[in-house]
């Protein structure tokens, strides 16, 4: 199978899964929990897969670039942060930035450790 077709199909699944999460969680209390959830979960899984490397091509590119790339999103994060800033919600914007970026790096680190441990054992 051509790699780009695998990426396209996996990307479709990633976008549908992300939208399903946002429909399930909804926009409760004006905080973007759905975006935060997909971004942190996707970061953990991607880093675990990078460290453990259980997949071969074209599955690796399909899952890493297609599914997880598409499941997580940067455009929604930019939009949500911008509207918080434009409406003067500085505290919420700061909290959302720390949770997304700091949380993303921590869950990525946890994923790298989890992945390399599961290779050793």
């Amino acid at each position: 199978m051509k790699e780009w077709i695998a990426v396209g199909l996996a990307g479709m699944a990633g976008a549908v899964s992300r939208t399903a999460v946002s429909q399930l969680i909804g926009h409760t209390e004006n905080f973007p929990y759905a975006t935060l959830f997909v971004n942190l979960a996707g970061s953990f899984i991607l880093c675990a897969l990078i460290a453990a490397a259980p997949l071969r091509q074209p599955w690796k590119t399909a899952v890493h670039t297609g599914f997880l790339g598409s499941f997580t999103t940067f455009s929604a994060l930019s939009a949500e942060l911008s509207s918080m800033l434009l409406s003067g919600q500085w505290g919420v914007a700061f909290l959302y930035t720390v949770l997304s970026v700091g949380g993303g790096l921590l869950s990525g680190l946890a994923g790298l450790r989890f992945g390399s441990r599961s290779v050793k054992s």
């Binding site: 479709m12 970061s43 991607l46 790339g69």
Partner: protein
């Protein structure tokens, strides 16, 4: 979300992921600055501002915002690239990449958002 809405998300997601794959495989260099990921995230943030007026739940919103732009941009790849730059000892590049993406993403969104809503 209607059945048509889900179809729009699926079609847009496929398109966004393939465009991102195409751009990142041309521009990202192994061990170098991830220019491809940076480019798709900045483009996606800018376009998100342009299409911010679309009614949430409409098929156009599902196709463009949830589908194409959600899939064109990526958080997980950005995050893993920051960690890998840092792990490889390229700490200044890691911090620069993290901050420039975050700050310019907000700037690009705001510029297009303010332009279309004025």
């Amino acid at each position: 979300m209607t059945a048509l809405g889900w179809l729009c998300v699926a079609a847009g997601g496929m398109l966004g992921a393939v465009i991102r794959y195409w751009i990142t495989s041309k521009l990202n260099r192994k061990g170098g600055f991830p220019a491809g990921t940076f480019a798709v995230n900045m483009t996606g943030a800018f376009l998100a501002g342009i299409f911010s007026g679309l009614a949430a739940g409409s098929p156009a919103h599902a196709f463009i915002v949830y589908g194409i732009l959600g899939a064109l941009t990526t958080f997980s790849t950005w995050n893993s690239e920051i960690l890998i730059l840092w792990r490889d000892g390229r700490r200044a590049a890691a911090v620069f990449y993290a901050l420039s993406t975050l700050v310019l993403g907000i700037v690009f969104y705001m510029v297009s958002f303010i332009y279309v809503s004025s």
